[in-house]
Symmetry: D2
Subunit: 307 residues, 4 copies
C-alpha cells in the first residue's frame, strides 16, 4: 500500500515512520524540507514529495492523502487546495485534531466531489511510534476500507486499538471526548499528588508511591506509568517546572459540547478551568474577592508591594 | 439591662458601642486596656472591667457574659475559667465563630452547671455598628429570654434580622452555613467580573456595571453594593490588591459538614477551593500536570528560569 | 415620547405598562391580538398596532422600535423583515435575550442601513413593572440618546439602575454575565438551604432563617428576599415542587464565553451543570459509575426493579 | 511463614487464598464459621481458628495478626481486645480501610505495649486474588521486616506493587488519597461516556469505543479495561442498573483532608459530590431553585403530580 502524509510535525513524522516500518510506502510531504529528508534518511519506505505536485505524481488512483496538519484554518485551506486536484474515488483523511463540527462540513464538501473523506482521531502522543496509536475513525464504510490496512499498521496491533466508530465527524468527536476524559484523569492524579505532598509529616516519596500503584491498584493507568517515570527522572519536587498548564482546543470543545448537549460534566470542565487558573497571571477575580472581604469585614487586603 | 462583653476586637467593640447607644450598660473587658479606654471615652454606657474579677463585681445576678473571642482554644479556655465563677441562673453567650460541634460540647458542660448557654452567630462585619447585626441564636427558650432585649438592640431593628433558631449549636450552625453561602455568592460575583474584564473589546467600566445592577437586577445584594462602592474607590483595575484570598474556619467547616451529611454542595465547596488555589504559591499540582503533558505528548515544559 | 414595542409576552407587556405609566406613548404590537387589547384596556398611553404596518403608520421619524421577542430565529427574522421598512435615523432596539455575538452581527447589518441599533439587556423579571428594570445598553452614543428618556422611565429611578455600557453587543454581553452570576448566587443559596434542611437534629425553620438573614447579614439580597417570601408561602418543605431546574440560553452562553476567554468560572459553570443534573432522567453517567464499582470491587449494583 | 487473618470477607478471604497459594500458612479466623470452612476446603495452607483463642494457640512468636475488618468501631474494638493477649515483639497489621488519624492513635497505643503496628492500605478489589494487590504500608522498619515476606506474596510480583511508604498512618493515608484519585478518574470516564451517549446522531457503540481506547490511547487504564468488559457484558444501555452511586469513607476523608490541608482538590471533591447528587431522592436544593426561578421570573414550576 502507498499513501501520502501531509505535515511531518511530531505526530505526522512518527506516523510515517510507523507506516514505513510496517511495509507501507509513504509519500512524505511537508512545507519545509528538513523533516522530509530526515525521514528519507532514517526509514526504508519513504518517497519524498517536496512540492504538493510531487504527491499527485507519486500516487496512483485511488490516491490516499492523509493530513496531519494543525486544526483550523491550515487544515481547511489544505482541503480547499487539494480537493480540485483529486479525482472521484480518491481518499482524503484528516488525522489531525479538527473540531468535529468543522469536520462534518469538510466531509460534506469533499464527499460532494466524489472523494472519500475520513476523520481519524489519533491518540498516543510521542509514544505512538513505539506502542502504536489509538485510532478513532469516522466516515463511510467504503472510504474506511481504503485505509484499513494503514490503520492496522498504525494501531498497537492489527486487531486492537482502532475502530471505525461512525459517520464523518464521529472519529474527531470520539477523540475530543477522549481528551476531555484525559483532562479529568490528569487533574485527579495531580490533585492526589498535591495532597500527598502537602502532608509533610509523612515525608512521602511520591516517586515510590506512584511506582507502587502501577501494579495491582485501581488507579493503574498509562498516565500513572508516565507520572511515575517522570517523578523518578525529574525528582519529586519538580522545582524546575513552571506551574503553568497549557490547554488545547479539544479540552475546551469537550466542555462546550457538554453544555450544548445539556450533560453535566463537572469534572472534565473543572479540569479545564483549573488550567485556566494556572495560566492566570492577573488574578482579577481574586483581587475582587480580597477587596470584598475588606469591604464587608474589614479584613486586611495585602497590597502588591507587601507580598 | 446590663451585660458584660469579653473581647473588644473589631466585632466585640462595635457591638458594645451599639448596645451602649441602645441604652444597655456594657461591662467591657479585654485582655489589653486600650480598647476598654477607647470605648469608655466614646460611649455613655460603658463600665470598664480591666480584670476579669471586675466583671463579676459589676454584674448583678443573673449575670450575662457575652464572649466575643477567637474561636477554638481561646473561647474554650475562657469558658473553663469563667464557669466556676458563675452561679446557677447566670447566662453565658458565645457570640464568636465557634464550630457548632464544639459549641454543643460547651453547652452541655455549661448547662450542667445550671448556667444558661447561648450561641449567637453574628453577621454584619464592620457595618453592623451602623446597620445592625444579623443574629442567629441557639439555646433554650429560658436562656434566650435573658438576652432578647440585647438582641433587639444589636439587630437592624427590634423586630427583624434576628431569630432564636433552635437548640444550642443551631445558632453557630446557621451562621456557618450563612458563610458558606456568602463564599459562593462572592465567588459567583468575582467570576462574573473577571469575565467582563477579560472581554477587553467592550472596554466595560465595571464600576458602572456593578453600580447599575444595584437597583432592579436579580443580582442586587449587599455584596454587590459593597463591590460597586469599592470599585469606585479603588479604581476598577484593582492593581494594588494582591490576588490572594484568605479563608476562615466557617467556609471550611461548611464544606466538611456538607460532606459529612452527604449533601452535594459543589458551589460552596469550590468557592473555598478557589481560595486555596489563590493561596497556593507552590503550584505542585500544576507542575505535575505540566510534567505529564510533556511525558505523553512531548509538550514543552516551561522551566522556571524561562518564565 | 412615542415608541413601538414588538412582542407583548411577560416582559414586553409589563415594560409597555411601565412606559405608559411614565407618560410615554407605546405603539403596542403582538402576533396575537389579546395582549394588545389587554394593554389597551388597562393603560392610558397605548396605541394598538394589530398589524406591523400599523406600527409604521403610527410612528413619526425618527421611529423607535423596541423588540421584546424570543432570542434566536424569531428576533433575527423580525430584524430582516423590519429593516427594509425603516429609514435612516430610525432606531431599532433589541431588548430581548439575544446572544451578544448575534447582536453584533445584527448591529452591523442595521447600522449599515443608517438605522441606529441598540441592545438592551433587561433584568428584573416579573417585578420590573413595579420596581423598575435594570437596563444594560450597548450601541452608539447617538443611538442611545434617542432612547434615554424611555430608559429613565423603565429603570427603578431616572438616575439609577441603567447604563450605556459600551458599543453594540456590550448590553447583551453584560446581561449574559449578570445571569451567570445569578446562577451562581442561586446555587449557593440552594446548597446552603439543602445543608440546613439535612441537619434534621436542629429542626430549623428555613422560612425563619431566610427571613432573619434579610437584614444585617452578608448574604442579604433580592434573591434571598424572594426565597424567604416563597418559603413562607409554600411551606419550607416545598413538597409540591418538582426538583427539576430549567436553564436558559444565557447561563449556557456565560459558561461557554468563560471557556472561550480562558477564564476560570467554576462556580457559574457548576451552577449550570447542577441544573443539567437535575434535568437528567436517564442518569447514564451514574449507571456507568455503579457498574464500574461492581466491576472492580464487587460492590452490589442495584438493579432497577429493586429500587 | 505463618500469620493469622482476622475477618474473611471478600478482601480477607481472597488475601488468605493468595497467601496460601504463595506458600504462607494462614491461621484463618472469622466471626462465623462458614468462610473458614470454605477456605479450609479450597486451599492447602489454611489452619482454621474458630475462636480467637485458637489463633494464639496456633501462632508462634513473634505472632503476626492481620486484621481485615470493617473500619471504625469494629477494628478499634478488635485492637482493644487483642492487644492484652499479645506479647512484646508480636506484630499487629491493620489491612482494612481505617481513617489514617485513627490508625495513628491505634499505632501509638499498640507500640506502647511493645507490639509492632503496621497499617496496610490494600487496593485491588476482587481482582487482587488473581492479579495481586497494591499494598501501601506504614509503620516502623523493624515491624515491616516481619511482614515483608507476606507482602511480596500478596503483591502482583515480589518486587512491584508494594511499598513501605512511611511511619504509622502513612499507609492508610496513601490508600485514602489513592481512592480519591480513583473517584476522580471514574467520574471523568463516566462523564465522557455520558456525553458520547447523548450525542445520538453518531450512534456510537460505547463498548467498541472503550475497547479501542484500551491500547495506545492516553486514557488506557485498568478502570477503562473493566468498563469496556462490563459494557460488552451488560449491553451499553445499562438499562438494568440503577443510577445510584454509593460512596465509602475514603472518598469523603480525602475531600475533608484536602480542605484541612488547604489544598484545592476540586475534581476529587466534585466526583464525591456528584455521587451525593445521585443518592439524593429529595432534591431539596433543586426545589429551592425551581421555586426561586418562579419567584423572580414567573417561570412555571412543575408540580409533583405533573411530572
Amino acid at each position: 500500500m502507498k499513501l501520502a502524509i501531509f505535515g511531518l510535525g511530531r505526530m505526522g513524522a512518527n506516523m510515517a515512520r510507523r507506516l514505513s516500518r510496517g511495509g507501507i510506502t509513504v509519500v512524505a510531504h511537508n512545507r519545509s524540507r528538513a523533516p522530509i529528508d530526515e525521514l528519507l534518511h532514517e526509514e526504508d519506505h519513504i518517497v519524498p514529495a517536496y512540492e504538493e505536485a510531487d504527491v499527485f505524481r507519486e500516487l496512483d488512483g485511488p490516491r490516499v492523502i492523509w493530513l496531519m496538519l494543525p486544526a483550523g484554518a491550515i487544515t481547511s485551506q489544505a482541503i480547499e487546495r487539494l480537493l480540485p486536484q483529486m479525482s472521484p474515488g480518491d481518499v482524503l483523511v484528516d488525522g489531525g485534531n479538527s473540531r468535529y463540527s468543522e469536520t462534518m462540513a469538510h466531509a460534506e464538501r469533499v464527499e460532494a466531489a466524489g472523494v472519500h473523506f475520513l476523520d481519524c482521531g489519533t491518540s498516543g502522543g510521542v509514544w505512538g511510534l513505539k506502542n502504536g496509536y489509538s485510532l478513532m475513525v469516522g466516515g463511510t464504510k467504503a472510504g474506511f476500507a481504503h485505509i484499513e490496512p494503514a490503520i492496522r499498521v498504525l494501531a498497537p496491533s492489527p486487531d486492537s486499538g482502532w475502530g471505525h466508530v461512525g459517520p464523518a465527524g464521529a472519529g474527531h468527536f470520539t477523540k475530543m471526548i477522549h481528551n476531555g476524559i484525559e483532562y479529568g484523569m490528569m487533574q485527579a492524579m495531580a490533585e492526589g499528588l498535591a495532597v500527598l505532598r502537602k502532608k509533610s509529616e509523612f515525608d512521602l516519596d511520591l516517586a515510590q508511591v506512584t511506582e507502587l500503584w502501577r501494579e495491582g491498584s485501581v488507579v493503574q493507568s498509562w498516565l500513572l506509568d508516565l507520572t511515575a517515570e517522570a517523578l523518578k527522572q525529574e525528582g519529586q519536587g519538580l522545582e524546575a517546572i513552571r506551574p503553568h498548564v497549557a490547554d488545547s482546543g479539544e479540552g475546551r470543545w469537550t466542555a462546550i459540547e457538554a453544555i450544548d448537549l445539556g450533560v453535566a460534566a463537572p469534572v472534565m470542565t473543572l479540569a479545564l478551568q483549573m488550567r485556566f487558573a494556572s495560566q492566570d497571571d492577573e488574578g482579577y477575580g481574586n483581587r475582587v474577592l480580597a477587596m470584598m472581604r475588606n469591604a464587608f469585614g474589614g479584613h486586611v487586603v495585602q497590597r502588591r508591594d507587601e507580598s
